[in-house]
Subunit: 186 residues, 2 copies
């Protein structure tokens, strides 16, 4: 695990912040690599040294931000001795509320699909340990079918909430999710 060259960090920082700036000024489809390199004061070709294209840049921006979410979750897991899944939703909604500016600007047009894929993947992994088929609720059902159903529900609700401008407070959202998801777990 060797140290990363400072120039690389500096370049990526400049690119992403220039990109996020531009995202708040115009539509994603209208942003060009040219624009970004101009704003970041660097050669256009340099961006291609780090990102395949602007879609890759968008994807990596969202992925990097979502890693923060994972840290938030694992931190709140450690606080409570045993993992109480149903109570861990409030921190998630609070996290998105704190980072509203970022996600609301990134979740437009193409942005949605990259967020969706990344976020859903994280949720589906977590659900594999939570969905029980031998319990009373899901007896006779196929776990492979229940998981994408439940996972998509949660991810879709969060997407809706962000896109609508967070019309309800995190507490209310968390309470609803606790009830709605509770109908499929245990």
């Amino acid at each position: 695990m060797s140290k990363v060259d400072r120039r690389i960090l500096k370049t990526r920082e400049a690119v992403t912040s220039a990109f996020i700036e531009l995202m708040s000024e115009k539509k994603f489809e209208d942003i060009t690599i040219q624009n970004i390199s101009d704003r970041a004061n660097m050669n256009r070709g340099t961006i291609y040294l780090h990102y395949v294209d602007k879609y890759d840049l968008l994807d990596k921006c969202i992925a990097a931000q979502l890693e923060e979410l994972l840290e938030v979750c694992s931190a709140s897991d450690q606080e409570q001795g045993s993992i109480e899944l149903m109570d861990s939703f409030l921190p998630v909604f609070q996290y998105f509320e704190r980072n509203y500016l970022f996600y609301s600007t990134m979740l437009v047009n193409q942005g949605t699909s990259y967020f969706h894929e990344r976020f859903l993947h994280v949720i589906l992994q977590g659900l594999h340990e939570e969905v029980k088929i031998d319990g009373a609720i899901n007896k006779g059902l196929n776990k492979d079918i229940v998981i994408p159903f439940v996972g998509s529900a949660f991810v879709g609700l969060v997407e809706w909430w962000i896109k609508e401008g967070m019309p309800f407070p995190p507490q209310l959202m968390a309470e609803h999710v606790k009830i709605l998801l509770g109908r499929h777990l245990l």
Copy 2:
């Protein structure tokens, strides 16, 4: 409501079939308008007379196909005197099974997001009449929160099913959806 010029229909037919052909041969991101116009034997500029760009073309292809789904649903609704929502899922899965080739080729990369948005919109509209708050199940819950939760669950499950190559028969899928959705309706 005047008749549509035959040239328009001919052009759109040629463009979309050339596009669908190319989609089965290479990745969406590698397909150019040039490619499509070459394959369709027409001037490149002609395509821009009908579509904004290749994303718009992809979107319109999926939207046109999804209209067929709506016809299928409304047809099965008319058969049964009263609309029995819970039994109308089988035709949906059967429809996607019939059109597997189309959807599996279109639901790659960018395709997912256009399918997702269109399909979700249709489902959400339908759910407004089905989700009851005054019933026993959802008492005290907010309808605006329940609907995107339930709708995303269904859409996400269908997406998963198509992308995984339809690993289960429509019957099994419909039965599961009947149970899983039933936990939130009535």
